[in-house]
Amino acid sequence: MKGAAGETAGGLGPVMWRPNHGYDDVSTKTLGFWLYMLSDAMMFTALFAAYAVLGHAMNAAGGPLPGTVAHPTHAFTETLWLFSSVLAYGGAMIALKKGNRVGVMAGIAVALLVALGFLGSDLHEVTRLFAAGATPERSGYLSAFFALVFYHGLHVIVGVAWMLVMLGQVAVFGLSEAVVYRLLNLRLFWHFQAVMWVFMFTFVYLRGAII
């Protein structure tokens, strides 16, 4: 036991110094990631606000309204892709808990492939809308709609890239502390974008079914 008695003034007074006082590195980095997510949630909030402001018939400028561009059924297919990917990543986390390196990599690989499925589905919908003349330049409403779709899509792309990097890191470093906190933060990120998708589904796509 270092510390305590040896650190006092004159040997009797209070403890003045604490040698070997450590900090929990993983939880510090996780907190930072939560704070980042808060800031990113604010960006989504601002985009949702813009979508609400530009969601009136006037903002469609004679072009398509939510009813013709935001299809809940198509979005439901995308939801299945996305949530399956989150589930697969959850599998990787179970493997991580057991210290199973191969299981972690397999889980991430499946999550990555399914996420590509989502991106394909997303891309398909966007090209269909573009072909029909519903482009971001058409109206204020469509600008806001595509801004949300692409901003969420960007998160999925970043997630996919991150998964690729983590596959490399797990392969190179094994399950070291640095790799583990990154895997945990990626789990947070992957859930975060899925939660944002839930808001997309509710405010953008379900709203499209009624307007």
């Binding site: 270092k2 510390g3 040896g6 650190e7 006092t8 003034a9 007074g13 209070p14 403890v15 003045m16 110094w17 604490r18 040698p19 070997n20 006082h21 900090y23 929990d24 939880s27 510090t28 980095k29 907190l31 930072g32 704070l35 980042y36 808060l38 800031s39 990113d40 604010m42 960006m43 909030t45 601002a46 985009l47 606000a49 813009a50 402001v53 530009l54 006037m58 903002n59 469609a60 400028a61 072009g63 482009t135 971001p136 330049e137 058409r138 109206s139 204020g140 409403y141 600008s143 806001a144 595509f146 801004a147 890239a161 990097v165 490399g168 890191q169 190179v172 470093f173 640095a178 990154r182």
Partner: protein, 693 residues
């Protein structure tokens, strides 16, 4: 998808061409020559003193929170100078261009600045003073102080800290580049839409403004994450929430603001960028755009930003006054609640920036009331400061002079702010120079707090006090300048003068405008005394060396470690026993309670990657401004590559053995050996004298 741009464009250089260099404008050519001479002198001095190696190893690649803080402050001071020159030009132009018969020089019909040039100057002045002077100065001070005040070795994420710094530096560099290549925005620092839209601003000015803004706001958001995580996670044992130094509480509140609001302005500007580059219709006049969307998004950031800069200023005042009143801060908990209250209410006042934009009376009434509510926590603070001074043993050293003058400006700015808060009254003064004078009072309060804070903590960081005689001259001249500029400005506001006039149509305003110029001259004189103060301080630093507690009556934790602070901050993590730990130890005669057992210290390694990311950020923004697509793609790719490469790096920290720490501590204590140059920010050429630890 990409918007078609009229005018020349080449794949290699985008819109960049030789004609974009404003070599025909004598003002800009003169500025350019000044910058070149300055650069040559700096490079020459660096080479002469053989400083390159130190510059690279100890500063540019450093992840030490103190050095990063100092570099933030240097950026802030350089940009403060630039913003000040803009102010000088505006004041002289307005005084020269009065009435139809006023003379014109340099292509201008009246005065010496053409309207387009004048518009760029006031836009640059506002943008620079808020984003590239006040913000870096305060972020720098928070960077230096927060880890010291909570007993930490560094920030929670030292590497990210450096990234924030270099992103801010890249933004500042972009603003400076706009002086000599192309032009700057001309639609006000907060951007007026749809004037900012491509059809009305087809040049690159708005793009410069937008991307510089983005770079610094991303940097500040990351910095906010860092400071919050540091305060939550890195506190020394015993540093409970109830013992957190008040400046750290103020930083916590401020960074809650930056974390939640800077992302909003990032979106506001990103949507403007989409409009300008991809032809979307977020803020366009027509095709479904909504002009008010921009105003709301911008000011949802814009007003909280004001409190983001004012809260650390309040924090500094709250640290300075108890030291020089020799009393604990009155109403600590009230102060904490008031800081968090100001941070909270900052979210609900943004609409008062456009009361006149035809919102329903109920809406205006709501925002009137929330705006006036800001006065409650602010009032709590003012009374707490007053009661701290009440029956204290007041000493008016320089920091205290600046801090107490700041209270005066808070009063003037606050009361005029209350006048503006009445929506009905705001209809009278909206867009007048009365409002300009009001918010300059508030920003000057921040400047006063910053000068107070710099004088107060300078000895902690550099180990010697700033000279006081020239410092006092600077203080009084600066204060006189402020009075002589802004009293006439309030008056002109009442007389109905609107802001941003490049030509003043009413000759009866001439005398007041001339008085403002006199004030500006006093400001210029005061700057000479600041330079003298810094020079004499540096020259006589050996006489002004101080011990751990530079002022003898300091109270918080940062004053128990050495001055200048060693790179590891505390040899051993301190145990905190009280709210004012330094006073607690002092009162019990424990000042010299040095650690007996030392420990290995783990520190992060220096790295050039943040600097690289900043440079690439600058390259990306510059490429986007000039629409050089290949360069933009290259820089984006390189940014991603650097981030991935960093993720694969190992050995990013090193250990100093306990034996070496002990040796360094003993050397300092004896005062015999000079602390190694690399160990202290700015180097430390003389031995430490005075008060021991």
């Amino acid at each position: 998808m990409l918007v078609h741009i009229d005018g020349p464009w080449s794949p290699l250089l985008g819109r960049l061409a030789l004609t974009e260099i404003p070599y025909k404008n004598p003002i800009l050519v003169g500025t350019f020559l000044f910058a070149v001479v300055l650069a040559v002198v700096l490079v020459g001095l660096t080479t002469y003193f053989g400083f390159w190696r130190t510059l690279w190893r100890d500063w540019l690649t450093s992840v030490d929170h103190k050095k990063i803080g100092i570099m933030y402050i240097l950026i802030g001071l350089v940009m403060l100078f630039r913003g000040f020159i803009d102010a000088v030009m505006m004041r002289t132009q307005q005084a020269m261009a009065v009435g139809p018969h006023s003379a014109g020089y340099l292509d201008a019909v009246h005065g010496y600045l053409t309207p387009y040039h004048f518009d760029q100057i006031y836009t640059a002045h506002g943008t620079i003073m808020i984003l590239f002077a006040a913000t870096p100065l305060l972020v720098g001070i928070m960077n230096i102080l927060v880890p010291l005040q909570i007993g930490a070795r560094d920030m929670a994420y030292p590497y990210l800290n450096a990234v924030s710094l270099w992103l801010t530096a890249a933004g500042a560099a972009l603003v400076m580049a706009s002086l000599f290549i192309g032009d700057f925005a001309h639609a006000g620092w907060f951007g007026i839409v749809p004037v900012m839209e491509l059809p009305y601003s087809p040049g690159v000015g708005v793009d410069y403004w937008m991307w510089a803004f983005q770079l610094s706001s991303i940097g500040t958001t990351l910095g906010g994450i860092n400071l919050l995580a540091t305060i939550v996670k890195m506190r020394a044992p015993g540093m409970t929430w109830g013992r957190l130094p008040i400046f750290t509480w103020a930083s916590l509140s401020a960074n809650l603001i930056s974390l939640t609001t800077f992302p909003v302005v990032t979106v506001a500007l990103a949507l403007l960028a989409l409009d300008r580059y991809l032809g979307t219709h977020f803020y366009t006049a027509g095709l479904g755009g909504n002009l008010m969307l921009y105003n709301d998004l911008f000011w949802i950031w814009g007003h909280p930003e004001v409190y983001f800069v004012i809260l650390p200023a309040f924090g500094m005042i709250s640290e300075i006054i108890p030291t020089f009143a020799e009393k604990p801060l009155f109403g600590y908990m009230g102060m904490v609640v008031a800081s968090l209250g100001i941070a909270g209410v900052s979210w609900g006042v943004w609409l008062h920036h456009f009361f006149t934009m035809a919102a329903a009376p109920a809406v205006n009434a709501f925002f009137s009331i929330t705006t006036m509510a800001v006065g409650i926590p602010t009032g709590v603070k003012v009374f707490n400061w007053a009661f701290t001074m009440f029956r204290g043993r007041l000493r008016f050293d320089l920091p205290m002079m600046w801090a107490s003058a700041a209270l005066f400006f808070l009063l003037v700015g606050g009361l005029t702010g209350m006048m503006n808060a009445f929506a009905t009254n705001d209809y009278m003064v909206h867009n007048s120079v009365f409002v300009v004078a009001h918010f300059h009072m508030m920003l000057l309060l921040i400047v006063y707090a910053i000068f107070g804070g710099v004088n107060y903590w300078f000895p902690k960081v550099f180990g010697f006090r700033l000279e006081q005689r020239f410092g006092r001259m600077f203080f009084w001249l600066f204060t006189a300048g402020t009075a002589v500029v802004f009293v006439p400005m309030f008056t002109l506001g009442f007389m109905g003068m609107t802001r941003r006039l490049d030509y003043v149509a009413f000759p009866q305003w001439q005398p007041l405008l001339d008085i403002e110029v006199v004030g500006i001259v006093i400001y210029v004189l005061s700057a000479a005394f600041l330079v003298a103060q810094l020079y004499v301080s540096l020259r006589d630093r050996a006489q002004n060396r101080v011990g751990a507690d530079a002022w003898g009556t300091s109270r918080s934790l940062e004053w128990i470690t050495h001055s200048p602070v060693p790179f590891y901050n505390f040899a051993v993590t301190p145990e905190v026993h009280a709210r004012d730990e330094r006073s607690w130890r002092h009162e019990r005669g424990l000042d010299d309670a040095a650690p007996v057992v030392y420990e290995d210290i783990h520190m992060p390694c220096k790295t050039a990657i943040p600097l690289g990311l900043g440079a690439l950020g600058f390259g990306l923004a510059f490429a986007l401004v000039w629409r050089i697509w290949w360069l933009a793609l290259l820089c984006s790719g390189a940014i991603v590559a650097l981030i991935v490469i960093r993720a694969f790096m190992t050995g990013t920290s090193y250990t100093i053995p306990a034996r070496d720490v002990e040796k360094m501590e003993h050397d300092r204590k004896r005062g015999a050996a000079k602390p190694a140059r690399a160990q202290v920010p700015g180097g430390s050429p003389a031995p430490v004298l005075g008060g021991g630890t």
